[in-house]
Point group: C2
Chain length 222, copies 2
């Protein structure tokens, strides 16, 4: 007898509100500090406050929204110190991840990563910086999704989501770095392709160190 896992039930309004709000915040449609009054946001989404409140609670846990009892929720604002903190943790977790998955990544997964690399290349050629950042972030998140350690996946995803949302805002001079960042992804893929844990970890470590180095000058300007 064939056993299939039942398909997940229809997405709830709350889930959709969560996805849509998350997207809007990441893409900068709501800016850091913007207030998010429940009634009006719910009206925008065409739902009531109840499902929205759950979505807001989740976004607060993701670090995208700040909640204070009795006050309006607002889009989180990050300082450069926060970004540095995120990078410290990425520096710790992402090379570890790259090293681990090198031993069990599949060819299909490698192909999907190559596709993302391709998207990045095109984004650079078309000077579409939003697309670049989006696919860059996606590259790191997708690498994490391969790991069997679910908590690690969660952590890396959270760090990247928080980080890239702000990277977009901070780095006006991003364009010149995009090509470099892109080129650093190649040795990571290469090491994974050859199932070399050490090299994959090392390549990721170098990449994130460089992200940090590239962010520093921007921080100086402030």
């Amino acid at each position: 007898m064939v056993v299939l896992t039942k398909l997940q039930q229809t997405e709830t309004l709350s889930d959709r509100a969560y996805r849509e709000l998350k997207r809007a915040i990441i893409q900068g449609e709501f800016l850091p500090g913007d207030p998010l009054p429940e009634e009006s946001v719910a009206a925008m989404l065409g739902i009531s406050r109840t499902p929205l409140r759950k979505a807001i609670t989740r976004l607060a846990y993701d670090g995208l929204i700040v909640l204070e009892t009795g006050k309006k929720a607002r889009v989180a604002e990050y300082s450069l110190v926060d970004l540095d903190h995120f990078l410290q943790l990425r520096q710790l977790l992402e090379p570890f991840n790259a090293q681990q998955i090198a031993s069990y990544i599949t060819d299909e997964q490698l192909d999907e990563l190559e596709q993302l690399i391709q998207v990045q290349k095109e984004a650079i050629e078309q000077h579409d910086m939003y697309q670049f950042i989006e696919s860059d972030s996606q590259f790191h998140i997708q690498l994490a999704e391969i790991n069997r350690n679910h908590k690690l996946r969660e952590f890396i995803e959270q760090l990247n989501t928080n980080f890239y949302r702000n990277y977009l805002i901070l780095s006006g001079t991003l364009e010149e770095y995009a090509a470099i960042a892109f080129s650093e992804h190649l040795p990571i893929i290469e090491a994974l392709r050859h199932r070399q844990p050490e090299q994959a970890g090392e390549a990721m470590k170098i990449h994130i160190q460089n992200i940090e180095a590239r962010l520093k000058p921007v921080a100086q300007e402030e």
Copy 2:
């Protein structure tokens, strides 16, 4: 002119529900797999479903509760694989934390840690294993609270909360290890007391490696 930060407003019913449920789950009053129907849990707490739902959403993010659309929430069940995953991350994050805080920990903070150590000692003498685990977990969480990296604090707290809740259940033979675990805390404090980052990180690394080693035999029995 003297400026004081305004005191936080009264805790909401939702916050209290969150704290109370978290406590009940960690202390084993609800067991892994137990269903948590909103209506009855709300009735137990003497509140309505609305504030409870927010508490449940938060506990789900903490990993203490599992939510599936349309189904009853239930207390999360962890496998030994999950525990191993938590330990891998603690292995990465906690030595890093110990190393960082060594350079700026205050004497007051060290004193508070010493007090926790004292509680642990007493718990062992009185064979109060629940108290021991509680204060052991608290020791690690309190070390994280000192770090200025807020995300790191969050991650370590989450890992410890999830870990210790299950440790209690898994380790019937805990008593013989409690004294050893306790003794491993001493060099950590000692290194912090002398503001030696390297040694603090190393002591924490050894400690967590040993936790892992002690858990392995238990895993074999299963």
